[in-house]
Amino acid sequence: MGRHVVLIEDEPNITEAIRFLLTRDGWQVDTHADGTDAVEVILNAAPDLVILDVMLPGKSGMEILKDLRAVAGMEHLPVLMLTARGQARDREMAEKAGVSRFMTKPFSNTEVLTAVRDLHAQAKQG
């Protein structure tokens, strides 16, 4: 199992920070800033893990997640969701949509790294 991450995030500075952290941890990071074609990007890249922002131009992270889970073989792909809104309602919606882990911005770098490693380890075991 490889270490391939697709990051869907429209804030360039946040994208850069995460890319830096994960690359240094040995991940291959692909980034994408638009929600509209995010599902195709993910399916084409066939990553080991997805990091998804909620508020995206074109299509929200929630809808992308739902559409992704509906695709055969994508039911158990680890998805880490990040949101700046951080309301309880958003977490519920995300869990309903089949999120693997939900994190509120701003996060600490170690939290992101830990989450990514845990999810990857679980996926490997499962």
Binding site: L21, R85, P106
Partner: protein, 895 residues
């Protein structure tokens, strides 16, 4: 020998006694001291005014001339009293519920309160009754004459006697008949005096009869033998005359004004009719029982040519029975005076109410306003009417010479008054009877009566023998006593038949053909269904039943508890015996007020009137009920209006609530947005600061770059916080506006310099300086802030490869349009309104700010009294700022 002086003395003494009795009865009645004044006995006796001098003297004469036919005069009333007392009760009930004052009033009331009809009946009554009064006067004269003959010592003069008798009767009638202003008050004095007279005439006739049978004839058997021997026994019964006269006397008994006066107007309690129904026929029987013996023995004993009308008087005189003759004289005197007094009273009421008052009111021209002095006028007009009627009787007597047989006048009079019968009976039982029908029937009957009976019998001077023989205008079928060629009938039968048949026929036909007005229909229903509309008279049992009805009604209206409490209170107030209070007038008034509070005064009055009787529902009552109904309708429409208003208020509240909810949602959304906008730069700051902190082997270049990101994001946070504070201040109106006078061009210069700093001249700006040379009155710094925002937006969002901005100025009155036009693709139609909302960004990728800029601009322009809006459908995006308070346009002269 009989002394005329003694007779006059006795007569005067009798009159004094009558005055005394009447006076005492009035006094007693005023103090409500004697119950017997209103007893059935007095009522029955007062009915005996039916028996006038005509019956007292005339019956014997009648019997002497026509045998038993005189019985018919008594038979009619007897049949009415026994066979139709319930009909009389209906009359009495109507009389009371409608507060009727006379037969004319009754007819008028029934037919829509028509005064024309009342006037007609009054004239008919005066014409028929005047000869009848004259007849009574004549009888008094004749009886005086009988005494005078026996007393040659006196020089006796008919006319003088009649004059004084007439004057005396007029004074009596005026004194006791017009004492009270209220016609509805019963005349106790008159009625009691009449009852006394009724006793006197009965006693007198019985005394003479007993004297004749046992004193002269020597016992009952001998008397019968003498009757058989006399010519009375040989008289043949003329059946048509019997039937007609019986019918006529029955009709007259009901229709005669004086009978109506005592039977209906003076009636104290309608239950008296039950007793009168047998007591009055008994009285008639007693008074008629000795008529035939007196007639037979009179014919036997008295010289041929003696007036049989005076047998009652002359028989005792001839036998030397001075005392008995005196009593007999008093009996005849009583018969005459009682009739004259009551007839004069009844006629005067009719004449005064239906002729004098309407004429007088019309002459005054203000018929509607009836003030206090009118009551005096009523009183005087009634007194004058009595005097005039008595005078008419007197002059009729003097002019006619007093020759005709007494009974002839009686039957003519009866036939005349019977013309009222169809209208009366029809009015009581037939709702379809109309005013026009009654008028037409009465007129036809009256004319036929005058033509076929009155003129041939009494007015010989007016109708020539030629007309009687050959008919009117020489037309054979218009002979008064053989109308339409029907000959050989008795003149009375002929007249009664034609007048009443045509009267009834015309009455029915015209009634069917005519349409009654509303009042006629209403009154018709009130009359025909009087027992449904009014109540039985008050008495002990009646009152309890009545009070129960009142209680039931009150419970329905007030509710059981409140009604019971009210009745309990009233019972205590009355001294509290029995389960329910007595329905005294006070109690009824209080109850009416109590009910009035719930259902309105008029409705309460009508309801209590229905139950307690006294007065039935009048038109005025109905009108008042209708008025209240209208008020209730108005009230309910007001309620409807109020309920509509409530609905509107509720809708407004719902809308306000919706708005509040929406605002609350907007606030949540706003907070969520603020949270997002704050967290996003903080995320970057935190991430990169951690990277820098934990950095092992981070190149200097990388370190530099990450530090500058932190710096940019920190600035972004600051800008966001500044914008939020700015917007908050603007929205709350806490901002102070510094109005100053300045040049628009200067403001634009400043704004462009500020906005374009650091953009490296990427945006090409086109201006027309000549247009910009305008003096404006505004907060110049705030205006500059708006311009900076728009220019910065053009820098950030203009998607043209060679972005360009043109600033164009146009003046419209006192306002200035400053347009910022770029050459980009513009804002999509759906987002054009949204761009002014907070945190709204059309293209987030390019967003440098928080999305509050345009929202702030809008707030500022609203504060400055201007406006900012997006101008759609133009190439590129066009933002138009409307600047108010432009004082001067300088360019025209200077440039």
């Amino acid at each position: 020998m009989a002394s005329l002086n003694a007779l006059i003395l006795v007569c005067l003494a009798y009159v004094v006694v009558l005055f005394g009795v009447a006076f005492a009865a009035d006094r007693l009645a005023a103090r409500r001291g004697a119950r017997w004044l209103g007893s059935p006995l007095i009522y029955t006796l007062s009915l005996s005014i039916y028996c006038t001098a005509w019956t007292f003297y005339g019956a014997v004469g009648y019997a002497a001339r026509s045998g038993l036919e005189f019985i018919t005069i008594y038979l009619g009333p007897t049949l009415v009293m026994i066979g139709w007392w319930w009909g009389l009760r209906k009359l009495v009930r109507i009389g009371r519920s409608q507060r009727v004052t006379s037969i004319a009033d009754l007819i008028s009331a029934r037919y829509g309160k028509s005064n024309l009809l009342a006037m007609g009946v009054t004239i008919l009554a005066v014409i028929t009754v005047t000869p009848y009064i004259a007849l009574q006067l004549q009888s008094i004269t004749l009886s005086f004459g009988a005494f005078a003959e026996a007393d040659p010592s006196r020089n006796y003069n008919d006319t003088t006697t009649v004059f004084w008798v007439t004057a005396g009767l007029a004074v009596f009638a005026i004194l006791f008949g017009t004492r009270n202003l209220d016609v509805n008050e019963r005349h106790h004095g008159v009625v009691t005096a009449i009852a006394l007279e009724a006793v006197v005439k009965l006693v007198a006739l019985l005394a003479v009869g007993i004297f004749v049978v046992w004193g002269i004839a020597g016992g009952f058997g001998d008397a019968m033998a003498r009757i058989d021997a006399s010519e009375i026994g040989e008289w043949q019964v003329n059946s048509s005359r019997w039937a007609v006269i019986t019918f006529l006397s029955a009709a007259a008994f009901v229709c005669l004004p004086r009978m109506f006066q005592v039977m209906v107007v003076e009636n104290e309690d309608e239950r008296h009719l039950r007793i009168a129904a047998w007591a009055f026929p008994l009285y008639l029987m007693l008074i008629s029982i000795f008529v035939v013996p007196i007639a037979a023995i009179g014919l036997d004993l008295m010289p041929a040519g003696a007036n049989p009308d005076l047998f009652v008087l002359t028989l005792p005189l001839s036998q030397g029975q001075q005392g008995l003759a005196m009593l007999s004289f008093l009996g005849g005197f009583s018969s005459a005076t009682s009739m004259v007094i009551v007839a004069a009273m009844a006629l005067s009421t009719m004449v005064s109410n239906h002729i004098v008052m309407p004429v007088w009111l019309r002459a005054r021209g203000d018929g509607a306003s009836v003030s206090g002095d009118v009551r005096n006028i009523v009183l005087y007009s009634r007194r004058v009417s009595i005097a005039v009627i008595m005078a008419l009787g007197y002059f009729y007597y003097v002019l006619s010479g007093g020759g005709a047989a007494l009974s002839a006048i009686g039957l003519v009079s009866f036939t005349g008054i019977a013309q009222i019968l169809p209208a009366l009976v029809g009015g009581l039982y037939w709702r379809g009877a109309t005013r026009s029908g009654a008028l037409a029937g009465l007129s036809v009957g009256f004319c036929l009566w005058v033509f076929t009976l009155l003129l041939p019998e009494l007015g010989s001077g007016l109708l020539t023998a030629r007309v009687i023989e050959q008919g009117l205008f020489g037309l054979g079928w218009l002979r008064p006593q053989a109308l339409f060629g029907i000959e050989g009938l008795d003149p009375t039968v002929h007249a009664v038949m034609w007048s009443l048949i045509l009267n009834t026929g015309v009455f029915v036909c015209v009634s069917v053909a005519s349409i009654p007005n509303a009042l006629e229909r209403l009154q018709g229903a009130q009359f025909v269904n009087v027992f449904d509309h009014s109540s039985a008279p008050r008495g002990w049992t009646g009152s309890v039943a009545q009070c129960e009805d009142l209680m039931i009604m009150s419970q329905r209206i007030l509710g059981a508890q409140e009604a019971q409490a009210f009745f309990q209170r009233e019972l205590l107030r009355q001294g509290g015996r029995g389960p329910l209070p007595e329905p005294t007038p006070t109690f009824l008034e209080r109850l009416e007020r109590e009910l009035g509070g719930s259902v309105g005064a008029a409705a309460a009055h009508a309801m209590i009137g229905q139950i307690a009787g006294g007065s039935s529902v009048s038109v005025a009552d109905l009108m008042a009920v209708a008025d209240e109904t209208a008020q209730i309708l108005e009230y309910s429409s007001r309620l409807e209006h109020q309920s509509a208003e409530l609905n509107r208020t509720a809708r407004e509240l719902r809308e306000a609530n919706g708005k509040l909810t929406e605002i609350s949602h907007q606030k949540d959304a706003f907070l969520s947005q603020v949270s997002h906008e704050l967290r996003t730069p903080m995320t970057s700051i935190r991430a990169f600061s951690e990277i820098l902190r934990d950095a092992d082997g981070l190149s200097a270049e990388e370190g530099q770059r990450y530090a500058s990101i932190i710096h940019d994001e920190a600035q972004r946070l600051t800008r966001l916080l500044n914008d939020l504070l700015d917007l908050s201040v603007l929205e709350n109106g806490q901002v102070s506006v510094n109005i100053a006078t300045g040049n628009l061009g200067d403001v634009l210069d400043k704004a462009l310099a500020s906005a374009l700093t650091g953009t490296a001249g990427k945006l090409a700006v086109t201006r027309d300086r000549s247009q910009e040379d305008v003096v404006i009155n505004s907060d110049l710094d705030r205006l500059a802030q708006v311009f900076i925002n728009l220019i910065a937006n053009a820098c950030k969002y203009c998607d043209s490869p060679d972005p360009a901005l043109r600033i164009s100025i146009a003046r419209h009155g006192t306002v200035l349009w400053v347009d910022f036009i770029d050459n980009g693709s513009g804002i999509p139609a759906g987002a054009q309104r949204m761009v002014f909302e907070k945190f709204a960004r059309v293209n987030p990728e390019k967003a440098g700010g928080a999305g509050l800029g345009l929202a702030i601009c809008r707030e500022i322009m609203q504060r400055l009294g201007g406006d900012i809006r997006y101008v759609p459908d133009r190439p590129g995006s066009v933002f138009r700022v409307t600047v108010p308070n432009v004082t001067e346009l300088k360019n025209s002269g200077t440039s």
